[in-house]
Amino acid sequence: MGDGGFFDEMWRDAGEVREPYRRFNAWFEDENPRDLLAKQREAEDLFRLAGITFNVYGRAEAEERLIPFDIIPRIIANAEWQRLSRGIEQRVRAINAFLHDIYHRQEIVKAGRLPEGMLARNAAFLPQMIGVKPPGGIYTHVVGIDLVRTGPGQFYVLEDNARTPSGVSYMLENRETMLQMFPELFVRNRVQPVQTYPADLRRSLAASAPAGTAGRPTVAVLTPGIYNSAYYEHAFLADQMGVDLVEGHDLRVVDGRVAMRTTRGYKPIDVLYRRVDDDFLDPLNFTPESQLGIPGIMDVYRSGGITIANAPGTGIADDKAIYSYMPEIVEFYTGERPLLENVPTWRCSDPDALAYVLDNLADLVVKEVHGSGGYGMLIGPTATKKEIAAFRRKLRARPGHYIAQPTLALSTVPIFSRAGLAPRHVDLRPFVLCSPEGVRITPGGLTRVALKKGSLVVNSSQGGGTKDTWVLED
C-alpha cells in the first residue's frame, strides 16, 4: 500500500503490516468502520468542548479553530526511538553550547568553522545577550526538533525550534483522547507514557532558577493573551504545572525583581516560561511600542534576578541559514559525528548555490531564512509557473533571505477516512527539556499530518492535522 515510492510506516509494499503496527492492525481489522467514523466525530466534539483550539493569524479575532485529529496512531518501535533520541540529545546539547559560545567568546568563528557574517549580519543575533550568563547556563529550556523520515531508519532534521516551540499540548491531549476513546488499545499495546511532561517541564524550569533562589522557585507562564494562536496551550501548560499564567501587564519590576500583581500585592517570579517573542519582551530595551512585554525585564535578567525560558536571543539557532551549519556545529561542540542528518541545504547568499537553485526551482523547496509556520515558502514540484516566476524574482532581489532544499520524499502513515485507510505525509516534533539536571525527551512527540492527498505541508495553519504518537515499550 506504499504510495508512489514513498515510505509507508504501516505497510510494506506487499500489503504486509510492519512490526510496530501489528497489534494495532489486528484490532483495527476487527472494528466496524462505521463505529470508528463515529469515534472520529466524537473526538472532534471532545476537542471542541475542551476548547482545544487555535486562532488563525490574520483572521477575525474571535475565530477559533480545531486542529483536525486523526484516530490512527503513528507508531514507533523502541529501538528506533532510542536511536533518534540519542541524536536529538546530541543536537540539543550542541545548540546550547553554540548559543553560549556565540554570546561569549565566539570560538566557533575564531576556529573558522562558522563565518563571522553568519552572526554579524543576522537579525536574530541579540547583542544584549553578549556576556550574559543565563542561570544554570541553559539557553534553550524547551526545544522542538522537527524530523522527517524518508525510508527505513532514514530520518532528517528539518528544523530546530529553539525559541518557543509549540504543539506540546496537542501531544498530550491527543493521548488523552485516545485513552478515553480506545482504552482497549492501550491494553494490547504497551505505549510509553507522555503524561509526565507538565511535571517534567515544571521540574526542569524550577531547576533552572537563578542561583540563590530560596525555597520552591516561583514559576509563571507568560502569554501574549487570549487572542494569541497558541493561547490554549499557554493556559493548558500553566494549569497542568499548577503555576500562574501571566500577561505583560500583570508584571513589573519591583525591588530589582520581576514581580506579578496578586490580590495581596507584588510577588517576585524566579522563572518565567515566556511564550512571547524577544522583540515584544521588553519595551524599555526592545520594541518601545510593545504592549505585551515587561519594561525592564531584560535589566533584571542581566543582573541575574530572573530566569527567562527560553533565553532571549536563542532564535538564532532556529535560523535556517545557521541550520545549514548544524553538522559543523554538532561536531565542533560535541567532538562527535552528528547522529542525525541535516537536509542538504543551499544557501542562496552563495552565488554558485543561487545559480543552482534558480536553475532547479521546480524541484526544490525554498524557504525564508527567518520564516516559520510554512509561510513564505515555495514547494517547487507543486507550485504553478507563476509562483515559480514570482519566487525567482524574490530570490534575485534578496538571495541572502533564502535557502533551498531538495523536496524530500516524506514518509506516510495512514489516516482514517470514509474510504478507509489512506496514506498521508507526516513529520514528527519531539519535545526536549533542558536544565542543569540534564536533557529529557518525551517519548514520541507531535505527529503532524498533511490531510490533503499528496500534500507535503503539515502545518496546522495550512490544513494539517495531528495524530497520537506511540513509542512502544520493548
Binding site: 561569549h104 565566539q106 568563528v109 563571522e116 552572526l119 554579524a120 547583542p127 544584549q128 545577550m129 553578549i130 556576556g131 513589573r252 519590576v253 519591583v254 525591588d255 530589582g256 519595551p283 524599555l284 518601545p288 519594561p295 525592564g296 535589566d299 533584571v300 542581566r302 543582573s303 541575574g304 534576578g305
Partner: protein, 265 residues
Amino acid sequence: MRLTIRHTTRYSFDAPVSHGLQQLRKTPKTGQQQRVVRWRTEVEGGHKELSFTDHHNNLVELVSFDRDTQSLAVISEGEVEIRDTSGVLGPHVGPAPLWLYRRGTALTKAGSGVRGLARTVEGETELDRLHSLMQVIHAAVAFEIGEPQTDWGAEEALAAGKGVCQDHTHIFITAAREMGWPARYVSGYLMLDDRVEQEAMHAWAEAHVAGLGWVGFDVANGIAPDNRYVRVATGLDYAEAAPVTGLRTGGAGEALSVRIGVAQQ
C-alpha cells in the same frame, strides 16, 4: 589630571507618574587612560532597582519612580583621574566582539549624503583618513548650541548642515563604518577651560584602527580627546550610550533641568 564632576538631572511632571523606569548610564568607565577615584549616584523621587554591566561594558543602573511622584532627580557626583593618551585607547576588549561595531543602527544608517561625504576623505594612513573625515564633517556641519533632536539620524543632521555634538558623532561613526572601520559613540564629560557650569554632557566618536586599537575623535571640536575628556558610556549610537533611557505611564508633560559642573581639582 583630576576632575571633580557633579551632574544633576531634575524632571518635573505636570501630573503624578503612576509607574516609570529609567536606565542610567552615568558612571564613568575605568580603563587605561582614566580611573574613577570615587563616584556615587543618588536618586530623589525614585529608587534604584538594580545594576548590571552591559555588552559595551557600561554600568547600567535601573531606577524606578516612586508611586505618584511629580519630580525625579538623579544626582551623580565624583572624581576621575585622566591620562592624556592623545585619544588612543588601545586594543579592543569585549565583551562585544569587534564586528558588532560595524553594524549600522536606525540613527547611523548611511545614505547618499554620508556616502558622498566619505568619498571626499583623503590621506595616506588609516589615521590620516580618519582625521580627514573628522575635519570634513567639522566643516560641513556647523556646531549649534541647543537642544539635540534625539530622533535625528546622521543623514538628517548632515542634510541640515548644523547640529550638536551628538549629530557630529553620528555622522562620523556612520561614515567610518561605511569606510570599513568599526566605530562607536561615546558619551562623557568635557572640562571646559573657561567655565565650570555646563548644560549638557558631551559626545564624541571612537574608531578602531588596526595596530592602534580604539582612537577617539571629538568631531564637534575637531580635535583628539585628551585629559579633559571623561568617558562615561559607549554604544553603537546615542540610544545605546544615552545617560538616561526612560519609559513612564502618567505624568503628562515634563520639564527637564540639567546642571553639570566639571572642574579641575
